[in-house]
Every structure is written in C-alpha cells, then in structure tokens.
C-alpha cells in the first residue's frame, strides 16, 4: 500500500516539475522529456531555468517541432554541445544560470544564427578585481597565461576554456587530498588536445606530436605520467599562485632529473606546494611526497642517512685500529727476534 502511495506521489511530482519546465518553452522549442531529480531542483537555484537548455544539450539527440510545417523532427546534437548535468552540478559554476554567461537570445529556438559569433567571458572577466576571489590571484594567473606558449602561439584563438571546461571545472588541487586524482585531472586537460589530433588541429597547424616518443628519454615513463602532472616540467614555477600557468616552450621544459630527484626537489614547489605545510612524514627529506610516492634522491631518510655514515665510519675505524695493531706487532716481532 505504501509502495503504491509512493508511486502516485512520484508521478504527481514528475508531472508538476515537467510542466514547470515545459511551461517556459516557446513554441517549437524541443521537448525531449526528462525526469528531473527533485533533490537537485531544490539544491540549485537555476536548475529549473537551466533545464530549458539541458533538455536538448544533455543528450545525443533532440526532438523539436517545425513551427511552419508542424512536423515533429529528431536531430543529432554535435558532440561538443552535449553537457552532463551531473558534471555541471558538481562544478564550480553549479549555481549559475546558463544565461549568466551565454546570451539570453539562446532562449529562442531555433537559436538566432548570429549567436555562433558569441564571445565567451574568460575567467578574469568575472573573477578579476573581485575581493572575494583575491586569494586565488586570478590577475596573476592572467599575466602568466599571457606569457605562456599557448597564448604566444595562438593569441586570442586560445582561451581559458581550451583547458578548463566551464561546465565541469572543479578546483581539484584545492579540494582533493588524493594526489592520483589531482594528477589525473590535470593531465587529462593537456592530453585532451595533445593526444587528440582533431582538437589539436583547432589550435595549430603543427603535425600531431607523439607524446610517448617525445618523452622517450624519460625512464619509467608510465610511472612518471601517473605520479606527476605535465605542468611540473612544462611550466615556470610561481610562488604566488597555487597552479603555475606559464606553459613553457618545449625547449625550456625540465629535462634534468635532479630538478625533482634531489633534496631540493621542485616537486615541493609544484605538486606538493601547499600540502607540504599540512602533512609531514618525520625523518624523510621532502616527507610529504612519501604519502603518495617515492622519488629517488628526494626522499632520503634522515635517520638512515646518519646511521649509514656512523656505520661506515665505524667500519673504517675498526679496520684502522686492527691495522694499527698489526703494524705495531709486526714492528715488535721484527725488532724482538
């Protein structure tokens, strides 16, 4: 009986929420049915408004009615226009309305043709000069970005959004304690273009690069790719911002092993920058790294270091004493007999 009652309630909620979405749609607007998770609608202020867009832009196809002929039609949605609700509502921009960044003209369907030339705001357009974001140093990020090889090569053709998806961006470095997640999230941004020729061609006329081959000099390549971010070697270290944004030309990338594999490892100023103040493993140089990895040369154990010097010195001392006795006795026997 309870189950039956629950089902009736769900149907009523579905009808009401569906109606509230579709009630806003202009004539001819696509009406592909979607079930709204009501918990999300309660949680995010623009959830219902945004459904006007998500109704089509969350699936591979969309249905609409041709207002002139009255025909019902079905079309494929281009891949780069398909968004995921789950990802969007987990991202930093989850509380935004689509029309906060996009033209309100998109509320018309068919969308006006001139919208294809719509300029998208970049990070600094919203976050620049804003006190509430001062701690993230967006202005510094902008300066670094304009000095980076990406901006240098592509100028205005490149933008924040080429790497950071505005519909899914999560500040993983700040939010996550899982370094594997941080590394994977960061490297996925680079590999999205640097291993995908279609995307790569959007920005350059260069031939596709073979990442595996260009990194052939790097021992244990797979381990490096899994444990450190591309930007550890491919950006200039910046003390102010959490993640360096000045992508360097290939010729200036770090290729000297000791930059990481030493007591003064640059990893402490990059990947482990802020975490290093929070967690330490007593006794190890650059101990924070040991929570996640082990870097030869950077993670010597202080106590084992001392112990090894003591044992080595002790061994030589014992040998010296033994040798001394042998020499003394040899002299004695020479002079005595």
């Amino acid at each position: 009986m309870k189950e039956k009652y629950r089902r009736i309630c769900l149907v009523i909620i579905f009808i009401i929420t569906s109606f509230s979405v579709f009630a806003n749609l202009p004539p001819g607007f696509p009406t592909t049915a979607v079930i709204l998770p009501d918990t999300l609608a309660d949680k995010f202020p623009y959830y219902t408004d945004n459904e006007v867009c998500f109704t089509c832009h969350s699936s591979a196809r969309y249905d609409y009615q041709n207002v002139e002929t009255g025909k019902h039609l079905r079309r494929l949605m281009p891949n780069d226009k398909i968004l995921s609700r789950e990802i969007y509502y987990s991202s930093v921009h989850q509380n935004f309305s689509c029309t906060d960044c996009h033209s309100s003209e998109f509320e018309k369907f068919p969308h006006p043709a001139e919208l294809i030339f719509e300029e998208h705001p970049t990070c600094i357009d919203c976050h620049g000069g804003d006190e509430s974001y001062a701690q993230y140093h967006f202005e510094e990020i902008e300066i670094e970005y304009r000095q980076s090889v990406h901006y240098g090569h592509e100028g205005d053709g490149f933008s924040c959004w080429k790497c950071h998806d505005p519909h899914g961006y999560v500040p993983t470095v700040r939010r996550s304690d899982d370094f594997s997640e941080i590394v994977m999230f960061a490297n996925d941004m680079c590999l999205a273009c640097h291993t995908n020729f279609d995307r790569y061609q959007l920005l350059t006329d260069h031939q596709e690069l073979d990442i595996i081959q260009t990194h052939e000099w790097l021992p244990n390549q797979a381990l490096h790719f899994n444990k450190v971010r591309c930007i550890e070697c491919h950006t200039r270290i910046n003390d102010t911002i959490l993640v360096a944004h000045q992508l360097l030309p290939k010729s200036e990338a770090v290729q000297r092993c000791v930059e990481c594999h030493s007591q003064n490892s640059i990893l402490m100023a990059t990947l482990y920058k802020f975490k290093s103040r929070e967690q330490r493993k007593t006794g190890f140089f650059n101990g924070i790294i040991i929570n996640e990895s082990y870097v030869i040369g950077a993670n010597r154990n202080e106590y084992l270091n001392i112990l090894s010097f003591v044992l080595l010195a002790g061994t030589f001392f014992a040998i010296a004493i033994h040798l001394l006795f042998r020499v003394i006795l040899l002299n004695k026997s020479k002079h005595g007999k």
Binding site: C257, N264, N291, R300, I319, L323
Partner: protein
C-alpha cells in the same frame, strides 16, 4: 712450509672479478642517484653536473646502474648454477655443529689470537676453504643479500608491478628502502671483505690467490 692448494677454478675467479667490478660501478651510480643534486668534493657540484670525483649525473647514473645491475644479476645466476653443477656450493653449507662456538673462536683469533701469534683455528683445506665467519658472512651476502637486492632492483625496473600500499605504507617506499639498505650493507661487507683479504701470510697473498687460483699459506 709452503702449502699450495688449487681452490679457485677459472669460473669462480671470473665470476668474482666481474662481481667486484660491477659492485663498484653500482655503488658509484647508486650513490649518485641517492645524493643527486647534493654538493661536496665527492659529489657533482650542481644539478646534473659531472664534476664529482667519484659520482656522476643522475641521468648517467640511472643508465649505468641499470646496465651494471642486469649484468650483475646474470652473473649471480651464473654463480648459483656454477655452485650447483661443480659442487662448490657445499662450501656454503653451515650445517656443522657448534657453529656459534666456532664463530667465537674465529672472531677471537681475528681480534686477539693473531696478534699473539696463535695458529689459525680453521686452516684452509680442500674440503673446507672458508672459516666459520667467512661461511656465515658469505651465505648472508650471497644467498640473502644478493637475492633481496636483485629482486627489489627488478621491482624498481618494473614499478607498475609493485603493490601500491602495504599496511598503508607506499610499496615503492618499502621496496626502495629494502634496496638501498641491502645495497649499503653489502657495500660494508665488501669493504670488510677486501680488508680481511689482507690477512693472509702476506698482505698480498690472498689477492694473488684470486688471480692464480692457488691458495697459499695457512
């Protein structure tokens, strides 16, 4: 009285000299990696500099460490197989009774007896070419230390196979500590081994034995 015994056939001498040379390369390259970027008269003066007296750049160290380690592992296999085929392995069996007492006797001789002109407590014979101290230290070095060193080294060659966490401690860390510690202990063993080789009838006698194959003296 001159007592000459042919104890070290060619295959053992070849294995031994190769093992010694490779170990020196492995110590130099291992230290170069462990202390990469540090400075000092023994060390390269800067990042990837080759200005050190004994050590080298990290990149070169990795390459030569790997090459020497592969040859060392093959040489170790050669030693184990050789011991099995020729019967040389019997010298590494500790099975005798009173081992602790014999170890004490040999230790006392090195620390005291030899200075008093006492006779060697365990003279070298064809059936027993190692004294109890040699036997125990060689067993530990060759049958415990070397396999540990080689296995942990192979694991570092293929780190993707190392268990990520062992009791919530990084598997890489444990593996590396085992490798570095074992390498260090075997290096100490080598230093002591070289010194004890000066304890023959003359300081050079035992070194000569490893070239000619003939053991002279006690």
């Amino acid at each position: 009285m001159e007592n000459k015994l042919y104890l070290y056939p060619k295959w053992i001498r070849s294995w031994h000299v190769l093992n010694a040379l490779l170990f020196i390369v492995l110590i130099a390259t291992g230290l170069s990696m462990q202390y990469a970027g540090a400075s000092g008269w023994l060390l390269p003066s800067g990042a990837d500099s080759t200005a050190g007296f004994f050590l080298m750049s990290f990149g070169a160290a990795v390459k030569w460490h790997n090459i020497a380690a592969i040859i060392l592992s093959a040489n170790f296999l050669f030693f184990i197989i050789g011991n099995g085929i020729t019967g040389n392995g019997k010298h590494y069996k500790p099975g005798e009774k009173g081992l602790i007492k014999n170890l004490y006797k040999q230790g006392r001789y090195y620390a005291y007896g030899m200075f008093k002109g006492e006779e060697h407590p365990f003279p070298v014979t064809e059936k027993s070419k190692f004294n109890p101290l040699q036997k125990v230290s060689y067993i530990l070095a060759m049958y415990v230390g070397m396999p540990l060193l080689i296995l942990s080294g192979i694991a570092m060659f293929f780190p993707e196979f190392i268990i990520n966490k062992i009791f919530n401690i990084s598997g890489l860390l444990i593996n590396d500590l085992v490798h570095v510690t074992t390498g260090f202990i075997l290096s100490l063993f080598m230093i002591i081994h070289i010194y004890t080789c000066t304890l023959g009838t003359k300081s050079s006698t035992l070194f000569k034995s490893m070239i000619t194959g003939y053991h002279e003296g006690h």
